[in-house]
Protein backbone atom coordinates (compact mmCIF):
# COMPACT_ATOMS: atom_id res chain seq x y z
CA UNK A 1 0.00 0.00 0.00
CA UNK A 2 2.78 2.43 0.94
CA UNK A 3 4.84 1.54 -2.10
CA UNK A 4 1.75 1.79 -4.26
CA UNK A 5 0.98 5.28 -3.05
CA UNK A 6 4.59 6.35 -3.40
CA UNK A 7 4.74 5.13 -6.98
CA UNK A 8 1.42 6.74 -7.75
CA UNK A 9 2.56 10.09 -6.45
CA UNK A 10 5.79 9.73 -8.31
CA UNK A 11 3.96 9.00 -11.50
CA UNK A 12 1.83 12.08 -11.01
CA UNK A 13 4.87 14.21 -10.42
CA UNK A 14 6.70 12.81 -13.40
CA UNK A 15 3.66 13.39 -15.56
CA UNK A 16 3.63 17.03 -14.54
CA UNK A 17 1.02 19.35 -13.21
CA UNK A 18 -2.53 18.51 -14.19
CA UNK A 19 -1.77 14.91 -15.21
CA UNK A 20 -3.56 12.61 -12.82
CA UNK A 21 -2.01 9.15 -12.50
CA UNK A 22 -4.72 6.52 -13.05
CA UNK A 23 -4.25 4.85 -9.69
CA UNK A 24 -4.31 8.21 -7.86
CA UNK A 25 -7.62 9.06 -9.51
CA UNK A 26 -9.02 5.71 -8.50
CA UNK A 27 -11.14 3.32 -10.45
CA UNK A 28 -14.61 3.90 -11.74
CA UNK A 29 -17.46 1.37 -11.39
CA UNK A 30 -17.09 0.70 -15.11
CA UNK A 31 -13.56 -0.62 -14.55
CA UNK A 32 -14.84 -3.29 -12.19
CA UNK A 33 -17.40 -4.33 -14.79
CA UNK A 34 -14.68 -4.53 -17.42
CA UNK A 35 -12.76 -6.91 -15.18
CA UNK A 36 -15.56 -9.42 -15.67
CA UNK A 37 -15.11 -9.51 -19.49
CA UNK A 38 -18.77 -8.67 -20.16
CA UNK A 39 -18.85 -10.01 -23.71
CA UNK A 40 -17.65 -13.40 -22.54
CA UNK A 41 -20.16 -13.29 -19.68
CA UNK A 42 -22.92 -12.61 -22.17
CA UNK A 43 -21.96 -15.58 -24.32
CA UNK A 44 -21.59 -17.88 -21.31
CA UNK A 45 -24.92 -16.81 -19.81
CA UNK A 46 -26.60 -17.29 -23.18
CA UNK A 47 -25.36 -20.86 -23.63
CA UNK A 48 -26.18 -21.60 -20.01
CA UNK A 49 -29.69 -20.26 -20.50
CA UNK A 50 -30.19 -22.48 -23.55
CA UNK A 51 -29.01 -25.48 -21.57
CA UNK A 52 -31.60 -24.59 -18.95
CA UNK A 53 -34.38 -24.00 -21.49
CA UNK A 54 -33.96 -27.26 -23.39
CA UNK A 55 -33.98 -29.34 -20.21
CA UNK A 56 -37.07 -31.56 -19.92
CA UNK A 57 -37.96 -30.22 -16.47
CA UNK A 58 -38.78 -26.52 -16.37
CA UNK A 59 -37.32 -24.49 -13.54
CA UNK A 60 -39.20 -22.03 -11.39
CA UNK A 61 -38.65 -18.77 -13.31
CA UNK A 62 -37.28 -16.85 -10.34
CA UNK A 63 -34.90 -19.64 -9.35
CA UNK A 64 -33.93 -20.06 -13.00
CA UNK A 65 -33.02 -16.39 -13.28
CA UNK A 66 -30.98 -16.59 -10.11
CA UNK A 67 -29.20 -19.70 -11.38
CA UNK A 68 -28.48 -17.83 -14.60
CA UNK A 69 -27.12 -14.93 -12.57
CA UNK A 70 -24.88 -17.40 -10.74
CA UNK A 71 -23.54 -18.69 -14.05
CA UNK A 72 -22.87 -15.12 -15.19
CA UNK A 73 -21.15 -14.24 -11.92
CA UNK A 74 -19.02 -17.38 -12.13
CA UNK A 75 -17.96 -16.44 -15.65
CA UNK A 76 -17.20 -12.91 -14.49
CA UNK A 77 -15.16 -14.22 -11.59
CA UNK A 78 -13.14 -16.37 -13.98
CA UNK A 79 -12.53 -13.33 -16.17
CA UNK A 80 -11.39 -11.19 -13.24
CA UNK A 81 -8.99 -13.86 -12.00
CA UNK A 82 -7.71 -14.34 -15.54
CA UNK A 83 -7.05 -10.61 -15.86
CA UNK A 84 -5.28 -10.64 -12.49
CA UNK A 85 -2.98 -13.51 -13.45
CA UNK A 86 -2.32 -12.32 -17.02
CA UNK A 87 -1.73 -8.67 -16.12
CA UNK A 88 1.90 -8.91 -17.20
CA UNK A 89 1.18 -10.14 -20.70
CA UNK A 90 -1.91 -7.91 -20.98
CA UNK A 91 0.37 -4.91 -20.46
CA UNK A 92 2.51 -5.96 -23.42
CA UNK A 93 -0.27 -6.75 -25.89
CA UNK A 94 -1.81 -3.86 -27.80
CA UNK A 95 -5.24 -5.50 -27.70
CA UNK A 96 -5.30 -5.73 -23.90
CA UNK A 97 -3.07 -2.92 -22.65
CA UNK A 98 -6.10 -0.77 -21.89
CA UNK A 99 -7.59 -3.25 -19.45
CA UNK A 100 -8.14 -1.96 -15.90
CA UNK A 101 -5.16 -3.69 -14.25
CA UNK A 102 -2.37 -2.99 -16.77
CA UNK A 103 -3.74 0.53 -17.17
CA UNK A 104 -3.35 1.06 -13.42
CA UNK A 105 -6.99 1.76 -12.63
CA UNK A 106 -7.47 -1.33 -10.46
CA UNK A 107 -4.85 -2.78 -8.14
CA UNK A 108 -3.97 -6.43 -8.85
CA UNK A 109 -4.65 -7.58 -5.31
CA UNK A 110 -8.06 -5.91 -5.36
CA UNK A 111 -8.92 -7.62 -8.64
CA UNK A 112 -7.90 -11.01 -7.26
CA UNK A 113 -9.97 -10.53 -4.12
CA UNK A 114 -12.90 -9.37 -6.24
CA UNK A 115 -12.65 -12.45 -8.44
CA UNK A 116 -12.41 -14.85 -5.51
CA UNK A 117 -15.37 -13.25 -3.74
CA UNK A 118 -17.48 -13.40 -6.89
CA UNK A 119 -16.53 -17.03 -7.47
CA UNK A 120 -17.59 -17.96 -3.96
CA UNK A 121 -20.82 -16.00 -4.24
CA UNK A 122 -21.71 -17.59 -7.58
CA UNK A 123 -21.22 -21.14 -6.32
CA UNK A 124 -23.20 -20.54 -3.12
CA UNK A 125 -25.95 -18.80 -5.06
CA UNK A 126 -26.19 -21.70 -7.50
CA UNK A 127 -26.35 -24.20 -4.67
CA UNK A 128 -29.15 -22.33 -2.93
CA UNK A 129 -31.16 -21.52 -6.05
CA UNK A 130 -30.77 -24.82 -7.89
CA UNK A 131 -28.83 -27.75 -6.55
CA UNK A 132 -25.36 -28.71 -5.46
CA UNK A 133 -24.57 -30.69 -8.62
CA UNK A 134 -24.92 -27.51 -10.64
CA UNK A 135 -22.94 -25.62 -8.00
CA UNK A 136 -20.14 -28.20 -8.10
CA UNK A 137 -20.11 -28.05 -11.91
CA UNK A 138 -19.88 -24.28 -11.77
CA UNK A 139 -17.05 -24.44 -9.23
CA UNK A 140 -15.23 -26.97 -11.39
CA UNK A 141 -15.55 -24.79 -14.48
CA UNK A 142 -14.15 -21.78 -12.63
CA UNK A 143 -11.21 -23.77 -11.29
CA UNK A 144 -10.63 -25.30 -14.72
CA UNK A 145 -10.52 -21.93 -16.45
CA UNK A 146 -8.33 -20.21 -13.87
CA UNK A 147 -5.97 -22.98 -12.84
CA UNK A 148 -5.84 -25.39 -15.78
CA UNK A 149 -6.16 -22.92 -18.67
CA UNK A 150 -4.87 -19.59 -17.37
CA UNK A 151 -2.11 -20.72 -15.02
CA UNK A 152 -1.05 -24.07 -16.43
CA UNK A 153 -1.69 -24.19 -20.18
CA UNK A 154 -1.88 -20.72 -21.68
CA UNK A 155 1.84 -19.91 -21.47
CA UNK A 156 3.10 -23.43 -22.06
CA UNK A 157 1.45 -25.08 -25.02
CA UNK A 158 -0.03 -24.26 -28.40
CA UNK A 159 -2.94 -26.54 -27.47
CA UNK A 160 -3.93 -24.14 -24.68
CA UNK A 161 -7.11 -23.12 -26.45
CA UNK A 162 -8.09 -26.69 -27.32
CA UNK A 163 -7.92 -28.03 -23.78
CA UNK A 164 -8.74 -24.79 -22.00
CA UNK A 165 -11.73 -24.29 -24.26
CA UNK A 166 -13.53 -26.91 -22.21
CA UNK A 167 -14.08 -24.25 -19.58
CA UNK A 168 -16.28 -22.31 -21.97
CA UNK A 169 -18.18 -25.45 -22.86
CA UNK A 170 -19.44 -26.11 -19.34
CA UNK A 171 -22.26 -23.51 -19.13
CA UNK A 172 -24.88 -25.48 -21.11
CA UNK A 173 -24.16 -28.48 -18.89
CA UNK A 174 -24.44 -26.30 -15.78
CA UNK A 175 -27.72 -24.84 -17.00
CA UNK A 176 -29.12 -28.30 -17.65
CA UNK A 177 -27.89 -29.55 -14.26
CA UNK A 178 -29.51 -26.55 -12.57
CA UNK A 179 -32.87 -27.51 -14.06
CA UNK A 180 -32.69 -31.28 -13.69
CA UNK A 181 -30.05 -32.04 -11.03
CA UNK A 182 -28.55 -34.43 -13.55
CA UNK A 183 -26.34 -34.57 -16.65
CA UNK A 184 -27.63 -36.22 -19.82
CA UNK A 185 -26.55 -36.88 -23.41
CA UNK A 186 -27.92 -33.63 -24.88
CA UNK A 187 -25.94 -31.29 -22.60
CA UNK A 188 -22.85 -33.36 -23.35
CA UNK A 189 -23.55 -32.79 -27.07
CA UNK A 190 -23.78 -29.06 -26.40
CA UNK A 191 -20.51 -29.30 -24.47
CA UNK A 192 -18.90 -30.95 -27.47
CA UNK A 193 -20.23 -28.29 -29.84
CA UNK A 194 -18.76 -25.41 -27.83
CA UNK A 195 -15.56 -27.39 -27.24
CA UNK A 196 -15.04 -27.84 -30.99
CA UNK A 197 -16.12 -24.25 -31.72
CA UNK A 198 -13.46 -22.73 -29.47
CA UNK A 199 -10.30 -23.51 -31.53
CA UNK A 200 -11.48 -22.05 -34.87
CA UNK A 201 -12.87 -19.04 -33.00
CA UNK A 202 -9.66 -18.20 -31.15
CA UNK A 203 -7.24 -19.28 -33.86
CA UNK A 204 -8.97 -16.93 -36.32
CA UNK A 205 -8.32 -14.15 -33.83
CA UNK A 206 -4.75 -15.31 -33.32
CA UNK A 207 -4.13 -15.28 -37.09
CA UNK A 208 -4.55 -11.54 -37.39
CA UNK A 209 -3.06 -10.76 -33.98
CA UNK A 210 -0.17 -13.21 -33.82
CA UNK A 211 2.50 -10.53 -33.51
CA UNK A 212 0.73 -9.30 -30.38
CA UNK A 213 0.80 -12.80 -28.90
CA UNK A 214 4.40 -13.33 -29.98
CA UNK A 215 5.51 -10.15 -28.24
CA UNK A 216 3.82 -11.33 -25.05
CA UNK A 217 5.34 -14.79 -25.33
CA UNK A 218 2.00 -16.60 -25.54
CA UNK A 219 2.44 -19.81 -27.57
CA UNK A 220 -0.64 -19.48 -29.72
CA UNK A 221 -0.70 -21.82 -32.70
CA UNK A 222 0.21 -19.20 -35.35
CA UNK A 223 3.21 -18.18 -33.23
CA UNK A 224 4.44 -21.73 -32.67
CA UNK A 225 3.47 -23.53 -35.87
CA UNK A 226 2.91 -20.68 -38.31
CA UNK A 227 -0.19 -19.37 -40.11
CA UNK A 228 -0.39 -22.18 -42.66
CA UNK A 229 -0.69 -24.96 -40.05
CA UNK A 230 -3.17 -22.81 -38.14
CA UNK A 231 -5.38 -22.40 -41.21
CA UNK A 232 -5.43 -26.16 -41.71
CA UNK A 233 -6.36 -26.73 -38.09
CA UNK A 234 -9.18 -24.18 -38.37
CA UNK A 235 -10.55 -26.10 -41.33
CA UNK A 236 -10.29 -29.43 -39.52
CA UNK A 237 -12.03 -28.23 -36.38
CA UNK A 238 -14.75 -26.54 -38.40
CA UNK A 239 -15.56 -29.84 -40.11
CA UNK A 240 -15.68 -31.59 -36.74
CA UNK A 241 -17.85 -28.81 -35.36
CA UNK A 242 -20.40 -29.09 -38.16
CA UNK A 243 -20.64 -32.85 -37.64
CA UNK A 244 -21.03 -32.40 -33.89
CA UNK A 245 -23.72 -29.77 -34.38
CA UNK A 246 -25.91 -32.45 -35.99
CA UNK A 247 -25.65 -34.80 -33.01
CA UNK A 248 -28.73 -33.40 -31.23
CA UNK A 249 -30.79 -34.37 -34.29
CA UNK A 250 -29.12 -37.78 -34.49
CA UNK A 251 -30.00 -38.61 -30.88
CA UNK A 252 -33.57 -37.40 -31.33
CA UNK A 253 -33.24 -34.44 -29.00
CA UNK A 254 -33.84 -31.81 -31.67
CA UNK A 255 -36.12 -31.47 -34.67
CA UNK A 256 -35.92 -30.37 -38.28
CA UNK A 257 -35.87 -26.68 -37.45
CA UNK A 258 -32.63 -27.06 -35.52
CA UNK A 259 -31.29 -29.51 -38.11
CA UNK A 260 -31.85 -27.07 -40.95
CA UNK A 261 -30.27 -24.25 -38.96
CA UNK A 262 -27.26 -26.42 -38.08
CA UNK A 263 -26.76 -27.37 -41.72
CA UNK A 264 -27.12 -23.81 -43.00
CA UNK A 265 -24.89 -22.29 -40.36
CA UNK A 266 -22.39 -25.11 -40.76
CA UNK A 267 -22.20 -24.56 -44.50
CA UNK A 268 -21.56 -20.85 -43.93
CA UNK A 269 -18.86 -21.57 -41.36
CA UNK A 270 -17.21 -24.04 -43.73
CA UNK A 271 -17.16 -21.35 -46.42
CA UNK A 272 -15.37 -19.04 -44.03
CA UNK A 273 -12.92 -21.77 -43.07
CA UNK A 274 -12.27 -22.49 -46.72
CA UNK A 275 -11.58 -18.80 -47.37
CA UNK A 276 -9.13 -18.77 -44.46
CA UNK A 277 -7.44 -21.93 -45.76
CA UNK A 278 -7.26 -20.70 -49.33
CA UNK A 279 -5.35 -17.57 -48.43
CA UNK A 280 -2.36 -17.60 -50.73
CA UNK A 281 0.24 -15.81 -48.65
CA UNK A 282 2.37 -17.98 -46.42
CA UNK A 283 2.77 -15.37 -43.71
CA UNK A 284 0.52 -12.58 -42.62
CA UNK A 285 2.56 -9.39 -42.62
CA UNK A 286 1.93 -7.34 -39.52
CA UNK A 287 3.35 -4.13 -38.12
CA UNK A 288 5.14 -3.93 -34.79
CA UNK A 289 1.87 -3.39 -32.96
CA UNK A 290 0.39 -6.59 -34.28
CA UNK A 291 -1.97 -5.06 -36.82
CA UNK A 292 -2.32 -7.03 -40.01
CA UNK A 293 -0.74 -5.14 -42.90
CA UNK A 294 -2.43 -7.42 -45.37
CA UNK A 295 -5.75 -6.97 -43.60
CA UNK A 296 -6.37 -10.69 -43.18
CA UNK A 297 -10.02 -10.28 -44.02
CA UNK A 298 -10.88 -14.00 -44.19
CA UNK A 299 -9.59 -14.55 -40.66
CA UNK A 300 -11.37 -11.47 -39.34
CA UNK A 301 -14.59 -12.48 -41.08
CA UNK A 302 -14.30 -16.02 -39.75
CA UNK A 303 -13.77 -14.70 -36.23
CA UNK A 304 -16.83 -12.44 -36.42
CA UNK A 305 -18.97 -15.15 -37.98
CA UNK A 306 -17.97 -17.69 -35.32
CA UNK A 307 -19.72 -15.55 -32.72
CA UNK A 308 -22.83 -15.25 -34.87
CA UNK A 309 -22.69 -18.99 -35.51
CA UNK A 310 -22.79 -19.96 -31.85
CA UNK A 311 -25.54 -17.51 -30.98
CA UNK A 312 -27.68 -18.58 -33.92
CA UNK A 313 -27.12 -22.31 -33.41
CA UNK A 314 -28.06 -22.26 -29.74
CA UNK A 315 -30.94 -19.95 -30.48
CA UNK A 316 -32.24 -22.42 -33.07
CA UNK A 317 -32.01 -25.22 -30.52
CA UNK A 318 -34.00 -23.24 -27.97
CA UNK A 319 -36.60 -22.28 -30.57
CA UNK A 320 -36.85 -25.86 -31.77
CA UNK A 321 -37.43 -27.04 -28.23
CA UNK A 322 -40.00 -24.32 -27.63
CA UNK A 323 -41.94 -25.35 -30.69
CA UNK A 324 -41.59 -28.98 -29.50
CA UNK A 325 -40.56 -30.17 -32.89
CA UNK A 326 -43.68 -28.73 -34.56
CA UNK A 327 -41.72 -28.09 -37.74
CA UNK A 328 -40.89 -31.76 -37.97
CA UNK A 329 -44.54 -32.70 -37.67
CA UNK A 330 -45.48 -30.25 -40.39
CA UNK A 331 -42.86 -31.60 -42.78
CA UNK A 332 -43.68 -35.21 -42.06
Amino acid sequence: MVQHMREAAGAALRAGEGALAPDLAGSQPRDWLLLLKPRVVLLVAYTGAVGMLVAPQPMHPVLGLIALLAIALGAGASGALNMWYDRDIDAVMRRTAGRPIPAGRVAPADAAAFGLALALLSVVLMGLAANWLAAASLAFSIVFYVVVYTMALKRRTAQNIVIGGAAGAFPPVIGWAAATASIDVLPLCLFLIVFLWTPPHFWSLALFAHADYARAGVPMLPVVCGPRATRRQIGLYTVLLVVASLLPVAIGAAGALYGAAALGLGAAFLRHARAVLARAVLTDAQDGAGRSLSADRPARAAFRFSITYLFALFGALALDHALEGAAWHVLS
Binding site: M1, V2, M5, R6, A8, A9, A12, L13, E17, G18, L20, L24, A25, G26, S27, Q28, P29, W32, H60, V62, L63, I66, L69, L125, L128, A129
Partner: protein
Protein backbone atom coordinates in the same frame (compact mmCIF):
# COMPACT_ATOMS: atom_id res chain seq x y z
CA UNK B 1 3.92 4.24 8.65
CA UNK B 2 3.44 6.32 5.52
CA UNK B 3 1.11 9.20 5.01
CA UNK B 4 -0.07 10.47 1.67
CA UNK B 5 -0.55 14.20 1.72
CA UNK B 6 -2.69 15.59 -1.03
CA UNK B 7 -2.93 19.31 -1.41
CA UNK B 8 -4.75 21.38 -3.93
CA UNK B 9 -2.37 24.30 -3.48
CA UNK B 10 0.74 23.73 -5.55
CA UNK B 11 3.81 24.64 -3.58
CA UNK B 12 2.06 24.58 -0.21
CA UNK B 13 3.89 22.73 2.50
CA UNK B 14 2.09 19.94 4.37
CA UNK B 15 1.14 20.45 7.99
CA UNK B 16 3.94 19.09 10.12
CA UNK B 17 2.23 19.57 13.50
CA UNK B 18 1.93 15.81 14.02
CA UNK B 19 5.37 14.86 12.86
CA UNK B 20 6.28 11.20 13.08
CA UNK B 21 10.06 10.93 12.63
CA UNK B 22 9.68 7.49 11.08
CA UNK B 23 6.96 8.49 8.68
CA UNK B 24 7.56 8.84 4.96
CA UNK B 25 5.51 11.64 3.55
CA UNK B 26 4.56 11.47 -0.07
CA UNK B 27 3.26 14.74 -1.41
CA UNK B 28 1.04 14.63 -4.47
CA UNK B 29 0.13 18.06 -5.73
CA UNK B 30 -3.28 18.03 -7.36
CA UNK B 31 -5.19 20.83 -8.92
CA UNK B 32 -8.69 21.59 -7.73
CA UNK B 33 -10.15 19.90 -10.78
CA UNK B 34 -8.13 16.76 -10.14
CA UNK B 35 -9.15 16.69 -6.50
CA UNK B 36 -12.76 16.97 -7.57
CA UNK B 37 -12.23 14.15 -10.04
CA UNK B 38 -10.79 11.94 -7.31
CA UNK B 39 -13.75 12.73 -5.07
CA UNK B 40 -16.21 12.18 -7.91
CA UNK B 41 -14.82 8.74 -8.64
CA UNK B 42 -14.87 7.83 -4.96
CA UNK B 43 -18.51 8.84 -4.69
CA UNK B 44 -19.34 6.84 -7.82
CA UNK B 45 -17.68 3.76 -6.35
CA UNK B 46 -19.53 4.21 -3.08
CA UNK B 47 -22.86 4.52 -4.87
CA UNK B 48 -22.13 1.43 -6.94
CA UNK B 49 -21.15 -0.52 -3.84
CA UNK B 50 -24.34 0.54 -2.05
CA UNK B 51 -26.37 -0.57 -5.06
CA UNK B 52 -24.63 -3.94 -5.11
CA UNK B 53 -25.09 -4.51 -1.38
CA UNK B 54 -28.78 -3.60 -1.51
CA UNK B 55 -29.12 -5.81 -4.55
CA UNK B 56 -27.60 -8.73 -2.67
CA UNK B 57 -30.05 -8.21 0.19
CA UNK B 58 -32.95 -8.17 -2.25
CA UNK B 59 -31.59 -11.21 -4.08
CA UNK B 60 -31.36 -13.35 -0.97
CA UNK B 61 -34.77 -12.14 0.18
CA UNK B 62 -36.35 -13.14 -3.14
CA UNK B 63 -34.47 -16.44 -3.15
CA UNK B 64 -35.59 -17.28 0.38
CA UNK B 65 -39.19 -16.26 -0.30
CA UNK B 66 -39.32 -18.36 -3.45
CA UNK B 67 -37.81 -21.39 -1.74
CA UNK B 68 -40.25 -21.10 1.16
CA UNK B 69 -43.17 -20.72 -1.23
CA UNK B 70 -42.12 -23.96 -2.92
CA UNK B 71 -42.53 -25.90 0.31
CA UNK B 72 -45.68 -24.01 1.27
CA UNK B 73 -47.93 -26.58 -0.36
CA UNK B 74 -49.17 -28.93 2.40
CA UNK B 75 -49.17 -31.80 -0.06
CA UNK B 76 -45.42 -31.48 -0.20
CA UNK B 77 -45.27 -31.84 3.54
CA UNK B 78 -46.92 -35.18 3.32
CA UNK B 79 -43.74 -37.14 3.58
CA UNK B 80 -43.05 -39.99 5.98
CA UNK B 81 -41.51 -38.58 9.11
CA UNK B 82 -42.55 -35.02 8.33
CA UNK B 83 -43.97 -32.84 11.08
CA UNK B 84 -47.14 -31.92 9.25
CA UNK B 85 -49.81 -34.67 9.09
CA UNK B 86 -50.30 -36.38 5.76
CA UNK B 87 -53.58 -35.88 3.93
Amino acid sequence: MARLVVTDAPGALPDRAEHDPQAVEVVARLSRAESEEVARRRHARNRALAFVLLGLVALFFVLSATRLAEVGDPQKWSRPGAIAPSR
